[in-house]
């Protein structure tokens, strides 16, 4: 009798253990991307996850689409795109592509007619996407200059490509485009064809910018885009001073600049 009871208890315990074992979690898709369409589209690709019904697409944590394909053309700018696999009610974790621009606030720059060597007239973007000011009088800064502010050759403060200076600070052909006045509302930098390498900096203006270090038109390897908010321009005459907020898209070639 005791033996029968023992066997019954052991079997029951085994059944309970098997029954309580958690379901195997779905594998997370491994997402890669490519920027296309002159920077307007982010093409997401991933390897197939076995035994799933399909994949969910998220933009900034909002489910926007589902697909059974292994690629998705993201054309709506967002800060973060995510892809998860699903099987019935089960869903894997999402693999995410971070498209958030790197923001630098309250950058003070001075027109290059300003004789004070402590008043920098150049700006440059570091490897991490942050923006720093650079003194033009320091030759070691010249390779890093992405734009400089000229009020010596222009009546108004003008943002100029370093390659336009005579002699050039470097060979980059960087340019800006007018993009209204609402910094937060600008979600994609201006389309190609709207940029110029010299532009007057007006109070409260928003500019799209295009860093083209090879001066070879758009590519998704070395080019970068972003936006600039001109918080203020002070001075009735040169030398002028400007305060800027800047957002830099770290993904090469992508024109998305969603900041909120």
């Amino acid at each position: 009798m005791n033996r029968l009871l023992g066997i019954t208890l052991a079997l029951s315990a085994l059944l309970i253990l098997v029954g309580c074992e958690g379901e195997e979690a779905l594998e997370t898709p491994n997402v890669t991307y490519e920027v296309t369409d002159n920077g307007a589209t982010l093409v997401l690709d991933w390897d197939a996850v076995p035994d799933v019904d399909g994949y969910y697409i998220y933009a900034d944590d909002v489910l926007i689409d589902s697909t059974t394909a292994l690629t998705y053309d993201a054309t709506v700018p967002a800060m973060v795109y995510g892809v998860s696999a699903y099987l019935g009610e089960d869903e894997s974790a999402a693999d995410e592509v971070d498209c958030t621009p790197v923001e630098t606030a309250n950058i003070t720059v001075y027109g290059n007619s300003d004789p004070d060597p402590a008043h920098p007239s150049g700006i440059g973007f570091m490897a991490d996407g942050s923006c720093v000011t650079l003194a033009l009088s320091e030759p070691t800064n010249h390779p890093d200059i992405d734009f400089y502010f000229d009020d010596a050759n222009f009546a108004n403060l003008t943002i100029v490509s370093p390659g336009d200076h005579v002699p050039p600070y470097n060979d980059e052909e960087n340019a800006t485009a007018a993009s209204g006045t609402d910094y937060a509302a600008l979600e994609i930098a201006a389309a190609l064809g709207n940029y110029i390498t010299q532009r007057t900096v007006n109070n409260n203006a928003v500019l799209s910018f295009w860093i083209d270090p090879d001066a070879d038109g758009w590519n998704n390897v070395t080019d970068h885009f972003g936006k600039i908010k001109v918080v203020s321009v002070s001075g009735a005459t040169a030398p002028f001073t400007a305060v800027l907020n800047v957002a830099y898209q770290p993904i090469p070639g992508l024109r998305w600049v969603v900041t909120q």
């Binding site: 007239s121 490509s161 200076h165 052909e173 110029i196 295009w210």
Partner: protein, 90 residues
């Protein structure tokens, strides 16, 4: 008939000769243009070299003043503004 043909040929010849630009008015040749371009580039290089020489001279002068004439007036640093080439639209 021959007279008319001769007259027409004469008119055509005179027209062609008459339409030739006067000497020296045909604009610069490519060679002249290239020579001018080379001259401008040489001048730009010369100006840049002079600027650098002047900067170096001013720096030396200021060092001298600071070392041997305490409180003497040094040449203030002026921003090197340079020029700007025409903008590029893209």
């Amino acid at each position: 008939m021959i007279k008319i043909a001769t007259l027409l040929a004469l008119v055509a010849c005179l027209t062609i000769i008459g339409c030739q630009p006067p000497e020296g008015m045909a604009g610069p040749t490519q060679e002249e243009f290239d020579a001018l371009k080379a001259q401008v580039e040489t001048l730009q290089a010369d100006v840049e070299a002079m600027n650098m020489a002047m900067d170096s001279f001013v720096e030396e002068y200021n060092k001298h003043v600071e070392k041997y004439h305490k409180g003497g007036t040094v040449v203030p640093k002026t921003p090197t503004t340079g020029g700007v080439k025409p903008p590029t639209q893209k």
